[in-house]
């Protein structure tokens, strides 16, 4: 009941918006290639459900695989950067510069490296895309321990490895999760944009471009809805993992 009351306004705005959209499209007889009516999109969604499900899963797996790959590499790089101060200054400068470059321009390059149908081209684009935000946040997290916390560990004669395990890593976990919250939607963007540049037909990016080129905009929009649903699902999975893994963190305390 409480939940319903809290979500009530959001649900009303959502369905109100859809209804308004439908009314506007009908009232002004807007052409389908500009903006199809929600009812037409839902119809396309139902008709194309098998193809869309397959494409959605395919794209999701590329995004997830690339995210995992990028995150593993980012964790290794961040640990190395924290362990060796000289490496940190050099690598952070490069990381920040690289993070300001639109890394998505790599998509056609990755296609030529690995071949247009190889799963590695998609995985590489996503991994490179998510690597920098995760690494930068993790380095910040690993260095976020206070001087007093370090003094405490030194007073026990704790070696560096123990400080990394018992102090730096747990301190960095909240930073890792906020990086993942950013990286999850980013990984989907990377996967779909890579698919725009070619590849299997059974992917959301290719589905959207091919339907749009055939003027089947209801179906293209249906794929957009699926992409959005996958994105929301992805975000929720990470938020749930966060609640399980760092229940002690301030952001997790119910008020």
């Amino acid at each position: 009941m409480k939940k319903l009351r809290a979500n009530g306004p959001a649900v009303m705005v959502f369905f109100g918006g859809i209804a308004l959209w439908e009314i506007v499209v009908r009232a002004f007889s807007i052409q389908g290639f500009i903006l199809p009516a929600p009812s037409a999109v839902v119809t396309a969604l139902i008709q194309q459900r098998a193809a869309l499900l397959q494409a959605g899963i395919g794209t999701f797996l590329t995004a997830l695989g690339g995210l995992v790959l990028g995150a593993v590499l980012a964790v290794a790089a961040a640990m190395a950067a924290v362990r060796w101060a000289a490496l940190r200054d050099a690598s952070m400068t490069v990381a920040i510069a690289a993070n300001s470059t639109p890394i998505i321009v790599l998509a056609p390059v990755a296609n030529s490296w690995f071949g247009i149908l190889s799963p590695w081209s998609g995985l590489t684009v996503v991994a490179v895309l998510v690597f920098f935000p995760i690494m930068i946040n993790l380095v910040k997290g690993l260095l976020s321990v206070s001087a007093t916390q370090l003094e405490l560990m030194h007073s026990y004669g704790a070696p560096d490895g123990r400080i990394l395990r018992s102090l730096r890593t747990p301190s960095a976990l909240p930073f890792l999760f906020s990086a993942l919250r950013v990286a999850a939607p980013l990984s989907l963007i990377g996967a779909i944009v890579k698919e725009y540049f070619g590849g299997s037909q059974e992917r959301l990016g290719q589905f959207i471009t091919s339907k749009a080129s055939l003027f089947q905009f209801e179906e293209a929009w249906a794929a957009i809805v699926v992409a959005s649903a996958v994105g929301i699902l992805f975000y929720r999975v990470i938020a749930a993992a966060e609640r399980r893994i760092i229940p002690w963190h301030a952001s997790m305390r119910s008020g």
Partner: protein, 263 residues
């Protein structure tokens, strides 16, 4: 003069100079000499910037003195730190947010490599000593400031060190909690026989707790007075209303005033 190897803590001509910026070098400590016998409760008091926390860190081997010699129970500070001869309590409780109360107390035992059963038994015993038995399963943020500091004290004592170093541990607590904590620390001190080196800027706190109060001056940090506190043990709540208590407060206050007027 050489170090007193039978003392819990012995300091000879200890100086600490920080390489400064525009103002040149800062002499934080100058010619500190002090012997603390086992079982004593010593307070360091002085104006801010007198180097009392710096002195504590020199004893704890968290900071290297520029000159002079230090020993803890006859060992070098480094040996004493590695043998875990002292426990340390900071002004902030410095509990690890992701560990529940019991796991926080177990931390030093984990680093020492004790097994699970032994760790829990010792941590639970300490939790009882600081009267927090019902809170082993709480996260630090669920506790009040005073309770968090009690957990920090339990953590500092769980490996049974012979020396307890405390850096303004009650500085952030309200007056009532503070007086309660002072009584608790005295009880722990008497029941464990630990030597305590206690940094504070509160005159009543120093007088109430200590066997001796060491008065320091600032810039450079030096010891100017050592005042014996001859109040009877155990100290009670009424001790604070004793005439002798007030005389000693005045004595410490005047020693501090002399320090102020000098600088």
């Amino acid at each position: 003069m050489s170090l007193d190897s039978s003392a819990a803590i012995s300091l000879r001509d200890v100086s600490v100079t920080f390489a400064g910026g525009a103002g040149g070098n800062v002499e934080a400590l100058q010619g500190i000499g002090l012997d603390i016998q086992p079982g004593e409760f010593i307070s360091l008091i002085g104006p801010s910037g007198c180097g009392k926390s710096t002195l504590l860190r020199v004893v704890a081997d968290l900071l290297q003195p520029t000159a002079g010699a230090v020993s803890l129970t006859g060992k070098t500070p480094q040996e004493a730190r590695q043998d875990r001869d002292y426990g340390m309590v900071f002004q902030a409780a410095t509990l690890l947010d992701w560990r529940k109360v019991l796991a926080n107390i177990e931390l030093p035992l984990e680093i020492m490599g004790l097994d699970n059963v032994e760790r829990q038994a010792k941590a639970n015993a300490m939790l009882e000593l600081v009267q927090l038995s019902g809170f082993s399963d709480h996260y630090p943020w669920q506790l009040s400031g005073g309770m968090q500091q009690r957990v920090a004290i339990a953590r500092a004592l769980v490996f049974e060190p012979s020396i307890l170093l405390m850096d303004e541990p009650f500085g952030a607590l309200d007056e009532m909690t503070r007086e309660h904590m002072q009584m608790e620390v005295l009880n722990i001190w008497r029941s464990t026989g630990t030597t305590v080196l206690f940094v504070t800027h509160s005159i009543p706190e120093a007088v109430f707790l200590s066997t001796r109060v060491v008065v320091m001056s600032a810039r450079p940090g030096r010891i100017t007075d050592v005042i014996d506190i001859d109040l009877e043990h155990p100290r009670r709540f009424e001790t604070r209303e004793d005439n002798r208590f007030f005389q000693l407060l005045t004595e410490v206050r005047e020693a501090l005033r002399r320090v102020e007027s000098e600088s």
